[in-house]
Symmetry: C2
Subunit: 143 residues, 2 copies
């Protein structure tokens, strides 16, 4: 029951694009260096996010990625579902996930589980994530 590194990286990347792409494109090379992630791997993740419509890609020199919406219009769930799939704790609760749902005695438990997960990840926006990170960075000056 773990979110993969890919999902964490995707979240980190989106935050990085917000923080360093206010006017210009953000290149994966830069992000990968800042975030200390394999550049090649991060390229694949960025491509996936672009394919999913969360980032716009610009090819060529001085290209990179920009947001397609404003930070408060993305939820963490939007981002994680692109890389992780549905985020549901078992496939039974997905459409067509199980053929004998009507007989299943535990489906209510799993559906409830799925609901709290989706509700949480969709309650946090990219804007929230960026602000939390920046607050924390600010506090670190006083350590």
């Amino acid at each position: 029951m773990k979110i993969s590194a890919k999902g964490r990286y995707a979240l980190d990347l989106m935050i990085d694009v917000v923080q360093h792409g206010s006017d210009k494109c953000v290149s994966i090379k830069e992000s990968a260096r800042r975030l200390d992630i394999s550049q090649k791997y991060l390229e694949q993740i960025a491509a996936q996010l672009a394919k999913g419509g969360l980032l716009r890609s610009v090819r060529g020199s001085s290209g990179g990625y920009t947001l397609t919406r404003k930070p408060h219009q993305y939820t963490a769930g939007d981002i994680l579902r692109i890389t992780e799939g549905s985020l549901s704790p078992i496939s039974c609760v997905e459409v067509g996930g199980c053929e004998k749902l009507s007989e299943c005695g535990t489906i209510d438990f799993w559906t409830g589980f799925n609901n709290v997960i989706q509700k949480y990840v969709d309650s946090v926006t990219l804007d929230d994530l960026v602000r939390t990170k920046e607050e924390k960075a600010g506090n670190n000056y006083y350590i």
Copy 2:
């Protein structure tokens, strides 16, 4: 981000022990047949639950497994954590899971995620699961 089959089986097994072990032991052979799960695999799961203190094992003929507490004294989380581990969505939130937590900008999000998961799975007891299943079985007569 999926609960494994082992976790689902563990929950199903515990329910089965409640439903068929009010006075006597429940053998894995019987449970495996009722639940349509590989007997040998279910044996391993039962052993794990016994090791974790959730079941008491009785060897020999007419042996099997019984509960060690009353159904309302187990939470779904108790059962799932035995087979699945911590249930936390990333290892960073576990003790010693990450060495640079103080610098991490997303840890609050992940901690919050972990909290809603633990809260949910610990809000449902084995007794709840059994009752939901029995209610559902009752309703099926009217289909």
